[in-house]
Subunit: 341 residues, 2 copies
């Protein structure tokens, strides 16, 4: 670490809130705040507010001139190009060269990636994945995101978009319609919305009494299902078994790809604890190729939830380089393994 | 390259034959030969014959003292430990510390990995994957093997066994029994034996005439199905459509993992050409997440088949290090991304 620049800024852009904070090399969030992502229809205004509010924090801890870099987790953000490519839930037109725009405003190096990748970097730097060289982060929120770490490095792939495990097809026939336009994607079953969908389906195909019948069916959330299951509701418990079973099958399949030491679960649904984890682990082991049976851990993130998003993004800030990231593209040719004569 | 050691030895151990050759840095196989893998019941005798025959080649091209390293592709060979862990088709007990035994015999650094990984390294070094940093090698032989390259590096995973894509479950219900003991694995459908199984199934469920009915049903091979399809046989053509369709679905799913620039197909079945590739590409595109539609190439290996196995293994020889690989295990802890204060 450059001892004159001991801090990084982490920015987590969500569809509703943008959370940001100043973090030191030990992962302590020294100051944080948030603004509304959708308040401005011009991205320049959004960036201006973000700049003003962030600099207010910087001044509050007397960190002027001591920021090493800025790390950003944002939907569909591309590490290679610095672009936010497709902002489904954002109020301004995309693609936008977000890293470049932030760098121009702050005068500090910026690195961006998608939220799940930022979460993986956060876990590797400050969380339960510290010391792991091969693991897969699975974020279970409104959708299912993932960040894959191989040999200590995040997998970005050819174009920066690798690690969309929420869009592996887990039901080839009669699968649920996904936001991506296809059917049967993992995230239609194993996200918070997937849990609510499963509950609605289960309530429909049986007459069994359930606490969930007290809620208007289209208003049921995964939190309602969790509360009902904790209260002993049989249908709600079956919903978590069904969800854990599908996720376990998927994790067993993912294992053959990169042979991770662990999966790290994060996000609202991961907080369901054993309700989800017990059927998940059983299903994963049952479906695991024999060489990996009993060998792959399933861990829950232990980062404080309020800090996790900012921490994950901030960890990327240590990777930010003082160059024009908007023009950094992966080199077209790889060095051959055989030394040249 | 150490100009005094301009050659590597490549050894490809198959269940039947072990092929070996001397290769230069440009990928020219200067001399090659083979021995029967199963001739000796003691591995020491196998290694002795391999040594004698290989050194005969070395002398024939006056390469004594000019061998940089030895690369080996062998079933279930572990790059990290140097062990052949589970030799299903081998006549001696496993696990064996194969890298160490070869190194003791030859006095030259040895690196080993499984056959599909060796093939991937060969393609990256000498073949169609030259210049690609992110690609996935799929070998379509008796089984389905794979070697995954991310950011120019082979993915070994936590334990050295990553990349078993032949064992992704593609049929969750009523899938075919796999050699691994589970059901529905990709390789039960998309290998040479999978093609023969599909042909037998198709012949059973219909009365449709077929050239394949001239062959005793249990003797049908993928080559027979290929020949029949090339002769216009309708059932045989449907077998390749079915196979290509399943493989295309699988490749679309694999794409979300590492976002490869290309898949490289190798092995007997890959030689079926458009019979397989046309339905495969159609199915892959149809099932692809929209951001990758039309963007991921499917390439066929162009290495001369007689040389390919030796070339792939030999390319690994350039990575061999003059240390006791039998004790090289991956470090337990990764360097954190955040620089230490």
């Amino acid at each position: 670490m450059n001892s004159s620049k001991p801090y990084v800024i982490g920015i987590d852009m969500g569809g509703t809130n943008t959370v940001f904070g100043i973090v030191d090399a030990r992962g302590v969030v020294l100051a944080s705040n948030s603004i509304k992502t959708r308040k401005h229809s011009r991205i320049e205004d959004y960036i201006s507010e973000l700049y003003e509010e962030t600099m207010r924090l910087v001044r509050s801890i007397e960190a002027e001139g001591k920021i090493f870099g800025i790390g950003v987790g944002a939907p569909n953000a591309n590490y290679f190009t610095g672009m936010i490519e497709d902002g489904v839930n954002l109020p301004w037109p995309t693609p936008v060269p977000f890293a470049q725009m932030l760098m121009d405003k702050f005068g500090i190096p910026v690195a961006i990636t998608n939220d799940a990748n930022a979460a993986a970097i956060g876990e590797m730097t400050y969380g339960v994945a510290r010391g792991l060289k091969d693991f897969i982060m699975i974020t279970l929120g409104t959708g299912v995101g993932s960040g894959i770490v191989v040999n200590g490095q995040l997998v970005y792939g050819h174009d920066g978009f690798a690690g969309e495990l929420g869009h592996v097809i887990v039901k080839r026939n009669n699968g649920r319609l996904c936001g991506c336009g296809r059917t049967g994607c993992l995230e239609t079953y194993c996200s918070a919305t997937g849990v609510a969908r499963t509950a609605r389906e289960f309530l429909e195909i049986t007459e069994e009494p359930s606490l969930l019948r007290n809620i208007s069916v289209e208003d049921i959330t995964s939190k309602d299902v969790y509360d009902a299951a904790m209260a002993g509701d049989s249908i709600a418990k079956k919903v978590f078994e069904y969800t854990g079973n599908i996720l376990g099958e998927a994790l067993a399949d993912f294992t053959v790809f990169s042979s991770p030491e662990a999966f790290v679960l994060f996000g609202g649904l991961a907080k369901a604890g054993d309700l989800l984890l017990k059927p998940l682990r059983e299903s994963m082991e049952k479906n695991m190729l024999s060489i990996w049976k009993g060998k792959v851990k399933v861990l829950q993130s232990e980062l404080k939830e309020a800090d996790a998003a900012v921490l994950g993004a901030s960890a990327l800030g240590w990777e930010a380089k003082p160059v024009n990231t908007a023009t950094v593209v992966p080199p077209a040719s790889a060095a051959p393994i055989a030394p040249q004569a």
